[in-house]
Every structure is written in C-alpha cells, then in structure tokens.
Amino acid sequence: MSALLEVDELRVRLPTRSGPALVVNGISYAVEPGSVFGVAGESGSGKTMSVLALLGLLPAGALVEGTATYAGRELLSMSKRSLRDIRGREIAMVFQDPMTALHPMMTVGRQLSEHVRHHLGYSRRRALEHAAALLADVRIPDPERALDAYPHHFSGGMRQRIAIAAALACNPKLLVADEPTTALDVTVQAGILHLLDELRRTKNLAVILITHDLGVMSAIADEVLVMYAGRVVEHGPREDVLRRPRHPYTKALIGALPHPESSRATPLVAIPGSPPAVGAYPAGCAFHPRCAYAVASCTTDVPPLLVDGSRSFACPVDPFAGEE
C-alpha cells in the first residue's frame, strides 16, 4: 500500500533572540491511509512544530527544509493558495483547546457549513443538512437543535466533538490531531478515542495523533514515533515501542507512569532533570544528561538512527539488555 503522506528529512528552524533554533531536526516517516500515526514526546520536543510545518502554519520567520509528499504533491514547496485548498479539504486539524478552532460568536451550524460552501460549493441548505449529519456522526444529541446553538452552550467534550465535526466537514483523508484529549476528562477522552477509531475504520481516515500521553497512544496508535529535543529517538509499531522500548528515553517515559498492575509501594520513577529549553539542546545525544545508560561517547556523538526490521531507534545501548 502506498503511503498517503511521506515526510523526509524535515527540519524546522524558529527565530529566537539568539538566532534560529533548530526545533525539528531531520525527521522522516510515512502515514498509511486508515492508520493512526502517533507522535509522542514531552512539551518542547518539537512534535507540534513538525506537523504545523506540513500545513504551512508555522509562526512567521520559520524556516523549513526537507520534503513532505501528500498524495503525490509536495506540500513544503507549494504555493500558499494551493496549500490552503488542501488544508481543511484534504488535511484537517484538531487542536487541544476546541475554542481555538470554534468561533465563540458564530452558531455551530454556520461554522460547520462554511467549510463545505467554500470548498465544495454546496448551497446553504445542503450545507446545513450536511452539518447536521456531521454532528450526528460525532454523536451530538439532537443535531438539528445544535446547529442554532453557540459553542459556549456545550461542555468541553462536546466542543471537541464539534471541532472534530468541523474538521471532518469536507471529508478529509488525513486528520492531524494535536493533543485532542489532553484537556478532557478521562471519561470524555475515552469517547473521543472511540470516535477517532470508528472514523479511521469506516472512512479510512488517516490520523496523525500528537500526544504526550502514552496511555492514549497505546489505545489507538498503530505506529509510535517518539521525539526528544527535535529528533526522532524511537519509531516503530505501537506494541513493540511500548512493550519493549529500545531507547532509554522511551523506557524512562513509560517508567514515570503509574502502572495499573504494580503495587502502590513501587514508587514512580521520574526522569531526572527537565527537558532542555527549545534551541538549547545538549551536545551529542540530547538526552544524555538525563539518561541512566549514558556513556562517554554520548556527550559528543549524535547517535544515528539504527534500523531493525520495522523499528528504528537512536541509541546503541539496549536499555533492557541483560534484564531478560
């Protein structure tokens, strides 16, 4: 199967007071239709910037290198106008805070019908019918009535559903979801995850899911890519990466989580220190100051991405070696 999106050697530099900072440093991946591609990492790891770059949504002054091929078209060198046509119509985005996507003073019906009138040329009436169907798809009770309501009439979880409905209005093939459930309660989060899972199965929607929550990743992602300080540190099938991580950082991230089956007496193991500030990345492997497995060469040499079958990892040390 050919990939829907292929990203190759993507680099992003953001302007800072001390010059351009390399916030995404050479990441490559492919997303298949109908699959959920997870991008994990702590705040400041570059995970959001790496996808904003694809959509031409980076802050002013950002520099982008590399290629991103979507259905045979190269996104990074595309004109703003062509990119705008793709954005919203073929590639849609959902953010952490649904209120950034929804206009507080416009009815839900108008927000959901505008897209399709603009992109697909629907009449007003047809667009509203379409909007009601979208709301039904994302399980908003009484969609007809919801069309006349404003975003503030809905709870956080319902707003995120409406934001997803708006993103899906033009039947996109790729949905970029940046921390879509982070602000929500676990009960509501579970509902959104079920919804995304259903959409990829019934509509063959591909999803790039950005989250720092490895639990969410475990529930729905097919592949997981872990970022640290702008680089890929580990990438592979979900089960491999989460059950037996090959990079010390991935292992440490999992170790910091409360494990459902361990006894309460087992303390949570935090990763020492804090993630480096954007642009102020340590030399060598950026994770070495916090790494329990670091050796002398880690402080000077950037470890290359090693490939092993369907997995890749940027560390010569196997954190589980000798434990099994």
Binding site: E42, S43, G44, S155, G156, G157, M158, D185, V186, T187, V188, Q189, A190, G191, L193, H194, D197, H212, D213, L214, G215, V216, M217, S218, A219, I220, R238, E239, D240, V241, L242, R243, A252, L253, I254, A256, L257, P258, H259, P260, E261, S262, S263, R264, A265, P267, L268, V269, A270, I271, S274, P275
Partner: protein
C-alpha cells in the same frame, strides 16, 4: 490542638441573576489530618475545585462548616486573613498564572514568608533551603518564573505555599498540566512532604491513576456530592460505586496492548437541574427502579469504606442487579486489572 482541616456537610451555591441557582457542592464532608494525603476526584464540573476553594475560604459556604485547627474558616473579605489560618495554604492548577512573572522566584518566596510573619532577613536566609525542599537548586531564587518549565513552576508554587510553614495545603489539580515525568516528580515530592514533614494535603485531581499512588484516602465526587470514599488502593482494586468503576475503566494504559478504554455514556448533567434520586442514575449501567426515585445515602460498608449506591443497601430489592467487579487479587504482588 489537632492540626486538622475539617469540612462538615459543606454546601456552596452559585447564584446568577435571571438563572436558577447552582448547588455546586451539595453537602460534602472531608477531613485532612497531618501527614495524610486525601484526594478528591471527579470529572470537570463536579464541584471539586469549588469544594477546594471553600476549604481555604475563597468561596463562601451556604451551609455546613469549614474548620482549620478548630478555627472557623471565613470567606476572604476586606479584612486581613486571620493569623490562625496562615497554616492553611493553597496551590493552584495553572503554574503559569499563579506566579508573578515580574518578580524573581526568591523575592516571591520571601514575600510569602513575610506575609506569614517571618522577618524579611530571616526569610532571605531560608529561601535556599525552601527551594532545596522542592528539588530545585538555590540558584533558582535569582531567576524569573519564565525560565522554568511547567513542572518546575509547579514546584516553585509548592515552595511558596511551604513558605508559610503550613500544616495543611490544598492543591487544585496540580498535576494535570504536566508531562508524565514532571507529574511523577511532583507526586513524589507531595508524598515526601506528607511522610517526612507531616503536612496534610488535600489533592484535587481528575486522574485516579496518579491519585492512587499519591493519596492515602480518596473521595469521589459526582455532581456536587461525594459518592464514594475509601483507601486509595482498595478503591482502585475494587471500586464500589458504578461511577468510580467508570472512572477507572476509562483510564487508558500505556501497555502497548491496544485496548480501548471504556467510555462512560452521556454527559455530566446541568447542576442547576440535577436528576431525581441518585444523581448518577441516567448514566449508570446498573440502575434499577429505585435509583430515579430515592437518593442513596453514603452507606458505611466494610473496611471503613462508604458508597452512595443502592446496590450496596443491605435490604435492597431482589430485582437489583449485581455490581460486576473483579475481586481484589489475593496478593500484593499480583493485583488484578480493574478494567
């Protein structure tokens, strides 16, 4: 004198002109003793943050009482806060808005100590050790808040609360905006404060998984009412209220198995118009005829636990469904999965 925070049948009502009054907290009781971490858990809108604010006197209570060390906690007014309440401190959810961006961390900590009656000069000497207690270097005192990550800021906020030498700290969702590792760091810090310094903590959270590690006892809140209380570990293994069960089943686990968490159907109802009978009945998979008619009281069950659910009523009707839960595992080492 015992250094306890005691909330007795607290009721908080928000009124807005032209709208029905909202009973955000509809009669809740809690008790935080020295060295104890008590967690208050529930979905957004359940009233847990309101109860936390009532506990420190930031919102007035309609009925019931809040006592700290035997003193009545009065809502904050124009007069200075009573000296007796200095030992009751609060840490807020957002460490980006709770710290002053234009003053150094050290200056803010000294201010907090001075406000608590410490001499400025003494305070300046103690800043270093205060930062050390929350796992930061004394050099952090000279920096401004923007230099720190979310997790570090939250620890600075804890240091500021500690500046008043509190016996009880109320923390409103201190963990929810943090990455996993920063969350683990802060959770471990809170456990240390309780164990080694005998500080009592009221921890507000929506995440039962992390609460289970940090807290000794847990109260679960739904729509303004406490529906279950008990030891954290026991509740995690064997939730007695269907709502607690749903909260636990909705937590996704990072085990790579690809299992979907269970979604709780429906939405939290409008607290201005709570459902009749048990407030959870419209969303409850176990509801039976009694649930929409009678309000279940907090029933005292075995092991010091309580649950407000008719399924646990001794003389319940024969038609009541059985609560399906996995029994706790026989040993500590091999606990069962809850979901």
């Amino acid at each position: 004198m015992s250094r306890v925070l005691e909330l007795e049948q607290v009721e908080v009502v928000y009124e807005q002109r032209g709208r029905a009054p909202v009973r955000a907290v509809a009669g809740a009781s809690l008790r935080v003793e020295p060295g104890q971490i008590v967690a208050l858990v529930g979905e957004s809108g359940c009233g847990k943050s309101t109860l936390a604010r009532a506990a420190v006197g930031l919102v007035p209570v309609r009925s019931g009482s809040v006592h700290f060390n035997g003193h009545d906690v009065q809502p904050l007014g124009k007069r200075a806060r009573a000296r007796e309440l200095v030992g009751l401190q609060m840490v807020f959810q957002n460490p980006f808005s709770s710290l002053n961006p234009r003053r150094t961390v050290g200056a803010q900590l000294v201010d907090a100590m001075v406000a608590a009656g410490v001499r400025r000069r003494v305070g300046q000497r103690e800043v270093g050790s205060l930062l050390d207690r929350v796992g930061l270097t004394p050099a952090a005192a000279d920096s401004y808040p923007h230099r720190f990550s979310g997790g570090q800021r939250q620890r600075i906020a804890v240091a500021r609360a500690l500046a008043a030498r509190p016996s009880v700290i109320v923390l409103d969702e201190p963990l929810s905006s943090l990455d996993a590792s920063a969350q683990a760091q802060l959770a471990n810090l809170l456990i240390t404060l309780a164990r080694t310094e005998q500080i009592g903590l009221l921890l507000i959270s929506h995440d039962l998984a992390i609460v289970r590690y940090a807290a000794d006892s847990v109260s679960v809140m739904y729509l303004g009412e406490i529906v279950e209380e008990g030891r954290a570990e026991a509740m995690w293994r064997e939730p007695l209220h269907p709502y607690t069960q749903a909260l636990i089943a909705a937590i996704p686990h990072a085990d790579g198995r690809g299992e979907m968490p269970e979604a709780l159907p429906g939405e939290v109802p409008d607290p201005a118009r709570p459902p009749s009978g048990c407030r959870f009945h419209p969303r409850c998979p176990y509801r039976f005829e009694r649930c929409d008619r009678e309000v279940p009281p907090l029933l005292a069950l075995s092991d010091g636990r309580t649950a407000a659910c008719w399924l646990h009523d001794a003389d319940r009707s024969a038609t009541a469904p059985q609560l399906k839960i996995k029994r706790p595992a026989a040993t500590e080492e091999k606990p069962c999965r809850t979901s």
